[in-house]
Symmetry: C2
Subunit: 418 residues, 2 copies
């Protein structure tokens, strides 16, 4: 155990050492490195596929879920997509070195606030090799060294990819040590990473609720919480019901496994009689299981009953909970009790109810007449996404490159004392 701990700490320290040079590197060198990394991935495609095949074989033998295998599996197209992602990062504006405040004080002190990298970012994720490339690219572009820890089922793929990325980055002038990978399968490796306060500056967990809980509960390093989404659609009495139906279908079925998918639909009592008989067959046709409140069951007696637990559940699956509510106040109250502060939407043509919902629902993104599925760095126009923050500190909602930076005050004097 001590040996594992030492390995992790020494890698994090190497990242810390590299981070000082990396923080002050020109955009040109960082972009050059990203292009080199893209080319190297394509060039070494065969090697990556070979390593990936080992992981896929082992995962299949372990009998894991098909969706899991799918995310783990690489092919020519997926490697080219990863390389494409690196090239897109080149096109993003460099967040480092820009200033957002300049004041000259009465005593002559000049104070500038400039954007600087965090230093070392730890990213803990599941068995998705593309996240390795993505995370390394966004950290590098924002001037941060990184310590990556991917799910153990992708260990061979990740080791191979990281080694290719490191060589390509360092050859382009990125300081050695800037990209670190923890190739230790032991689950405690995650906890050990989380204890490196003073070496790792922030940790971003990317993955399911279990992973995120383990990280937030054990970390002495500051964490940006991402991802869990119990998202709601509230169909107001003044809703366009066709629009509401469309958004319900889209929110639940377009990609049920993601965090911005819909989990609960709330319906105003005065339109429930009309809307539920529209909603039920439309969702059932798409294989969605519906779990309704008592009042739903009065209208549709063949509906499965929802339990208290359902309201707080992120199904990540073709299941949805439905509840009839008194009014917009009751909808907001339900949402503020059960949401994960991710994304919630109201469907209404009434400006007062829309305004009330927007101001009173406590979530990173609150919508009027649109699908919660849009909460996403690319859909928001940020050109990148390292995750979706569901906390209020530092960054909220989809996080682009800027979320990977902090600020620093530079103060210029001529001998001023206080």
């Amino acid at each position: 155990m001590t040996e594992i701990k030492q390995t992790i700490e020494s890698r994090a320290r190497a990242a810390m050492k590299a981070s000082i040079t990396l923080a002050n590197l020109s955009t040109a060198i960082k972009n050059e490195a990203l292009l080199n990394m893209a080319a190297a991935l394509v060039k070494n495609k065969e090697e990556i596929l070979k390593a990936n095949a080992v992981d896929v074989k082992a995962a299949k033998e372990k009998g894991v879920k098909t969706s899991y295998i799918d995310r783990l599996t690489l092919n020519d197209k997926r490697i080219e997509d990863m390389a494409e992602g690196l090239k897109q990062t080149v096109a993003l504006p460099d967040p480092i070195g820009t200033g957002d405040l300049y004041v000259k004080r009465p005593n002559g002190l000049e104070i500038r606030r400039v954007r600087v990298p965090f230093g070392v970012i730890g990213i803990i994720y599941e068995a998705r090799p593309n996240v390795t490339v993505d995370a390394a690219a966004l950290c590098l572009k924002s001037g941060n060294a990184c310590v990556l820890r991917g799910g153990s089922e992708a260990i061979n793929s990740n080791k191979c990819i990281v080694s290719i990325l490191q060589k390509a980055a360092y050859a382009a002038g990125i300081p050695e040590g800037a990209i670190q990978f923890i190739d230790i399968i032991d689950r405690d490796a995650v906890i050990m990473m989380c204890k490196l306060r003073g070496i790792i500056d922030i940790i971003i967990p990317r993955g399911g609720a279990g992973l995120i809980k383990r990280v937030t509960e054990n970390s002495s390093v500051n964490v940006i919480e991402t991802g869990t989404g119990v998202c709601h659609e509230y169909v107001d009495v003044y809703a366009d019901l066709d629009m509401a139906l469309n958004i319900a279908i889209n929110g639940k079925t377009s990609r049920p496994s993601v965090c911005n998918a819909l989990e609960t639909i709330l319906i105003h009592k005065d339109i429930a009689q009309k809307f539920l008989p529209m909603l039920k067959p439309a969702l059932e046709k798409r294989d969605v299981e519906i779990r309704g409140c008592e009042r739903c069951l009065e209208i549709c007696p063949d509906m499965k009953a929802a339990t208290e637990e359902d309201w707080a559940t992120e199904y990540n699956d073709l299941i949805v909970s439905v509840k009839v509510v008194e009014d917009v106040e009751a909808a907001i109250e339900h949402i503020n009790k059960y949401n994960t502060q991710h994304s919630d939407t109201i469907i209404t043509q009434d400006i007062k109810n829309a305004h009330k919902f927007l101001t009173e629902v406590d979530a990173a993104a609150v919508y009027v007449n649109a699908s919660t599925r849009f909460t996403d760095g690319f859909e928001f126009g940020f050109g990148a996404e390292i995750g979706i923050s569901t906390q209020k500190m530092h960054a909220r909602g989809p996080m682009g490159l800027e979320a990977l930076t902090t600020t620093k005050y530079l103060v210029y004097g001529e001998g001023q004392i206080r």
Copy 2:
């Protein structure tokens, strides 16, 4: 214990309930409340002084330090100053409701990012009754409900002050429950507050290193770390030595108990022979104890020797550690090893060394040719200060009203799906 826990949780929940209305209150009502609170403090001066006398008497009987008694003691002037502080908060611009991003996406979605309160802020501080007023005012102006927990030695003063503030605020239209005070002396009350994730949104500890450590290590609520400052002055080979001396004296002696005071002076080896004999008598004349490295002792043999521990110590007292270093690189290396990422300054006339120091020292505020004592919300022109953040997440350096806010995306559609 369970009873204490229930009391704390129910107060925090009351704050949470009030926070929804408070978040959307007009600036006019908030300002009205602040003025009411100011008037009420002055009007009830006698009552406050009586409660304070009980605390001061008990503290004296316990035999606590004089400086401690001084911070605890109120008088007419101090109560008027607290009222003045409330009035100054009225003059500050309201951070809530301003937007910092607006995009219309190709699909017609309109996305706005607006500034909103956190919700409920927990503030844990020591036995300084003025912090009670200050914290309540800044939370209120930024639209946040607050749960205050001051040092137990000030319990009677704080209870009296909070009750006056509550009455005055609620009479002006602030929702009841918005200002909460934990009048429980038990030290575990702090830990219990720190566990209320989901009710309290952030916790800001204000006080010494011990308090801050207890909070950061035990909190499941996000914490903004404030305050500890091991601040450095590096006297470069190209320094104006009179300026360097002036800044050393100011940094160490103008207010040794505060976090932006100087703790360590690093001196370039080529000027040490000249500068140390200037520095030593000047500091000693002001009762400063100097602890030097080996090379210092070669130049001034009667100097007390510094130990490894000294380099990492925030004395908060008339003690300073002094070290001779090879060059600017060695100075930066020492600082990045021992500083608390608060404030560090270089004294130099050389633009290259100044630039190197500014970019490579990892601290909230990095100075050239000025005293570290300026790291302060008022000195920076923010008009307020809830503390000085020494972490990189969310806010860094002096925190004004904006640091007490987060953002929220409001998204307007016309039925868009993805």
